[in-house]
Amino acid sequence: MKTRILGWVAFVAVAVMALVALFLVPADLNQGDAQRIMYPHVASAWLAYLSFGVTALAGICWLWRRDLRFDSVALSGAEIGVMFTAFAIWGGMMWGRPVWGVFWQWEDPRLTTTALLLALYAGYLLLRRLTDDPERRATRAAIVGIVAAVDIPIVHFSVEWWRGLHQTATIGSPDKILNPAAPVPFVLTLVGMVLAFTLTWTYLMIRRYQLAQADLGREESARVERIMEARAAEATR
């Protein structure tokens, strides 16, 4: 029940912020209307990374506590995370085309790191599909999730170095908004968008988790039933 309310609140929040971002907040002086996509783009990117962090952390908890609920959290984080990652990349490309002139800019650390994040997610999810046993699957996934999460900061750092050392001018990065001198309406819109998206993310995570638990529960009942059948068959011989 509470989740449903959360869902509606999130929906309304996103709708409101979309309107604000599209119509209310002024366009950027240099980049024009193209800059508006930056709001959902940055918000998605934030959630993409948050999701991965959650997945990795949940993996650690599984290894520590051996409670399959943690694995359900990890799975939810990965699936929801993939969505936001894909959207963030798409947003980045859409924003890049009018501003940079190209869809892709190798030296933008955020874009390249996020693309790699997508590859890591894909590997994680594929790996999960290849194992049937729930505990083996959880363990393998946790390991992969942890190593991948450790890799992300290294990637980001190295790409920044890449950019820095080559000193090519990267015109207008989305980060301009995040500095303290940025105009207030921009910052407020961004914050609002991030909050709205985070609400959506929370709602989706809860729902996906519930689904995952339901799946586990069903699997569990089936297993218990098989065992009972085997015993009953033996008892009647």
């Binding site: 590997g123 790996l127 046993d133 946790a142 890799d151 990637v155 170095w161």
Partner: protein, 230 residues
Amino acid sequence: MTALRYEARLALAIAAKDARAEMRGRQAVVSTLFFAAVVLLLFGFALGPDRARLAEAAPGLLWLALVFAGVLAVSRLHLIETDDGALEQLALYPVPRRAIYAGKALAGLAVMAVLGLVVLGAVAVLFGTSIGSAIVPLLATLMLGVVGIAAVGTFYAGLTVRLRAREVMLPLLMLPILAPLLLGAVKATAAALAGDPFGELGAWLQLLVAFDVIMLTAGLATYGYLLEDG
């Protein structure tokens, strides 16, 4: 014997066992070398014949060849353990898991080091890069790079050896992780070859060291979980 000495002995025994088995049986080093050579040749066909362009691309091609050949090499080292259930037996010995990882990574490193030297020579010949005075930084970069490939590769090879579709899962999982290593190694190699005009060589080498340390630690800490059979 202290615990560390004991574990080091175990790791060396495992590495020696891998080396011996490979030398005798599967000719892994030789076939991986040929694979790397073929990859380089194909690069030549794809990007040549302009020597200047090839020379410029040489550092990247060197490391791409090493990374791809590296996937094969680590995969083969874990395939030894599919001999009649050897991996399960290995997991049953009362030895710390990280010693097993260390041993296998060491064996992987040995293979990669040989691979690296040969590929470096091949690249110098095929793509006309003059090594000359850059030999020391080049070797340093080579060593740091192959340590990273061995560390990451051994870990993922252990993960995928019992998996369905392992031939595709190993590179799929391993290669994205190696992205920063690839970047650092290529940049360091290019800088070394050019005589380090911007003074960036040190920074890239630091990146490689950091990567190696982090990944080795991760491998040592988590390899044990891979050996569990659910």
